[in-house]
Every structure is written in structure tokens, then in C-alpha cells.
């Protein structure tokens, strides 16, 4: 889901940087207002977790690979704004140091994975676990469903962004300038593989860690201490 340099045209890249600017500033403002010094290590662990879980490429035999983002878990533990910052840190370092995701596409990749993903995941989890006791199974299931849906929303968005490129950028002879695959290919490809395989990875990872924390650190799951 890390869109590389060259797949998105300049206007698309600029558009997503422009959208992300107010999101990043709002995230900074909200985290600043609510950040408790004792939560900083957890935020660092969140960024580290998101970074490393994205290195676990899961194969579709004979096909493509994909991975979880871990962002829904971070959002459940620290709130969606803090998760946005943690995942942005991971994505920027992946792009700069490891060439995983383009520099020009940082705005778009952050919109999909550091904004859309933690926010949808967080609110789905909140809705499904509404008034559920901290130790209940409903929370584990809610976390899994939130992870599954949120990763697919992020994948669908990136498929959409890939897919509109041939509509936006073409040479006079009709060749694509950037991503050559239109919506009819990009959207089903991105959504299909995530609905079938990678969404479940995010679901299982999120649910298992919540299950573990219920036993060993239920205080992290209590409401009202979100960043």
C-alpha cells in the first residue's frame, strides 16, 4: 500500500500534501493539549510497532504481497490523533531511509494509512465496544472487525488514487504518464487482496494484542485516558 514515486502525478501528490497539512497541525495541537509525559514511551512503541509490522510481508502464493499497518491498535490505545502522528513518523522514515513508499507520495500514503485507517478503525472499535467491560470478548472482536474494515478502507483509497491517474495524466497518443492501471483494475486489485488476505492479518494482530492487554494491562484499555 506504499505508493512509490512515479505512480502519482504532481497535482495528486500536491493535493494530498495540502490535505495532510491541516491534519498534521491539528494532530499536533490535540496531542500537545492532551499529551501526558508518561504516555510518550507508549507513543514511541506505537510508531515502532507500526514500522516493524509493515515489514512482515504476507504473500498471496504466486501473487502479490501485502502487510498489516498496526495503526488501528495504536488508535485504540492512544486515540486516532496520536496514532496519526505515530504512523506518519513510521511512513516518513520508511520513505526516506528505505525507499518504501515515495517521497512525492508521502501525503497520499499518510492520508490512507495514517489518517483514514486509524480514524475509521478507532470509531468502529468505539461503536462496537460501546459500554462493553474492559475485559470482555466483545472488545477483542470489535478490535478485529475495526482492523479488518480500516485496512480495507485504506487499501480501497489507495486503489482509487492509483486508478484515477490514467484519467488525469495521458500523453497525446493515449499512453499513461504515471500509474497505467485505471479504476477498473486498480480498485478491485487493491480491495480484493486486502479483503481476502491482508485485512485478516490486521484483524488478527489487533485482536490478539487487545486480548493480551486485557489480561496484562487492562488500564491501557480503559476509556477516558486517550491522547
Amino acid at each position: 500500500m506504499h505508493i512509490p514515486d512515479g505512480y502519482l502525478g504532481p497535482a495528486t501528490c500536491g493535493f494530498f500534501y495540502l490535505i495532510m497539512l491541516p491534519i498534521w497541525t491539528t494532530a499536533s495541537r490535540i496531542v500537545k493539549a492532551t499529551l501526558n509525559a508518561r504516555q510518550v514511551p507508549l507513543l514511541a512503541i506505537g510508531a515502532a510497532f507500526s514500522f516493524v509490522i509493515m515489514m512482515f510481508n504476507v504473500p498471496i502464493p504466486g501473487g502479490t504481497t501485502g502487510h498489516a499497518v498496526g495503526g488501528v491498535l495504536v488508535a485504540i490505545l492512544l486515540g486516532p490523533w496520536a496514532a496519526c502522528i505515530a504512523i506518519t513518523v513510521a511512513l516518513v522514515i520508511q520513505a526516506l531511509l528505505f525507499g518504501d513508499g515515495g517521497i512525492t507520495a508521502i501525503g497520499a500514503n499518510c492520508f490512507n494509512m495514517a489518517f483514514a485507517l486509524p480514524f475509521t478503525g478507532y470509531y468502529i472499535y468505539r461503536a462496537l465496544s460501546y459500554k462493553a467491560p474492559v475485559g470482555s470478548n466483545r472488545r477483542v472482536i470489535a478490535a478485529g472487525i475495526a482492523g479488518y474494515i480500516a485496512l480495507n478502507i485504506a487499501a480501497g483509497l489507495s486503489g482509487f488514487v492509483f486508478g484515477i491517474q490514467p484519467l488525469l495524466y495521458k500523453t497525446a497518443s493515449g499512453q499513461a504518464l504515471y500509474c497505467p492501471y485505471g479504476l477498473n483494475v486498480a480498485l478491485p486489485a487493491m480491495l480484493g487482496e486486502h479483503l481476502l488476505v491482508f485485512g485478516w492479518v490486521e484483524a488478527i494482530v489487533t485482536a490478539l494484542v487487545i486480548k493480551y492487554l486485557q489480561k496484562h494491562a487492562p488500564e491501557l484499555l480503559a476509556e477516558g485516558r486517550k491522547l
Binding site: V52, I85, L97, I103, Q175, L177, Y178
Partner: protein, 111 residues
């Protein structure tokens, strides 16, 4: 043991296990992620390299491309695993440092 220490150990375990993310795709003959092909693969897939893509794709030269050392593409799996673990450790170190610096900047101003 405090939960934060346990979580750090968990992250450490993930770093050591990270080569699974190399081994499994290789073992199951899975290629690149969708939409993350290099220019050569693009040539094979669609028969040409989109002009803008060709220009922009070399826009940035990352110091540890694809979580490996430059020029290590043909190295044996053990070496690549080592580079992968090294990359995970370095990346996480920088992630953690970045979060602490951001937190410092955000909390400092009003005091």
C-alpha cells in the same frame, strides 16, 4: 515487570523475526506488492514505461533501499536477513527518537 518493558521486548522479538517478511513471499513465490513494481517489471506488465513514472521513480535514492544494503540484491538469504534485521533495528531506533523529539517540542512551549 511493567507493561512498557514487556512491550519493548515484544518489539525486539518482532525485529528478530522480521526476516519472515522476506522468507514467506520468497517461499510462496509472491512478487511485488500491487502498484509497487520497479520500472523493469512495469515494462513487462504493460509493455512500456510511463514517461512520468520513469522520470519520478528515481527521484529519491534511499540509503537502505528495500531494507537492504545497496548492491546486495544478489546476496544469499542469510545476508539479506541480516540486512533486514539491521534495517528494522535502525528504523525503529529513528522512529523512537523522532517520537521523543516531537513529544519534547510539543510539550515544551507552554512551560
Amino acid at each position: 515487570m511493567k507493561i512498557i518493558s514487556k512491550l519493548w521486548i515484544f518489539i525486539g522479538a518482532l525485529i528478530v523475526l522480521s526476516p519472515l517478511g522476506l522468507f514467506l513471499p520468497e517461499h510462496f513465490k509472491a512478487g511485488s506488492a500491487w502498484g509497487e513494481w520497479g520500472v523493469d517489471e512495469m515494462q513487462q506488465l504493460v509493455g512500456y514505461i510511463p514517461k512520468g513514472l520513469e522520470k519520478l521513480s528515481s527521484f529519491w535514492s534511499a540509503p537502505l533501499p528495500d531494507y537492504a544494503f545497496k548492491g546486495w540484491e544478489e546476496k544469499p538469504f542469510v545476508s539479506l536477513s541480516f540486512a533486514y534485521i539491521f534495517s528494522a533495528a535502525i528504523g525503529i531506533l529513528i522512529c523512537v527518537a523522532a517520537v521523543f523529539i516531537i513529544a519534547r517540542l510539543l510539550t515544551k512551549k507552554d512551560k
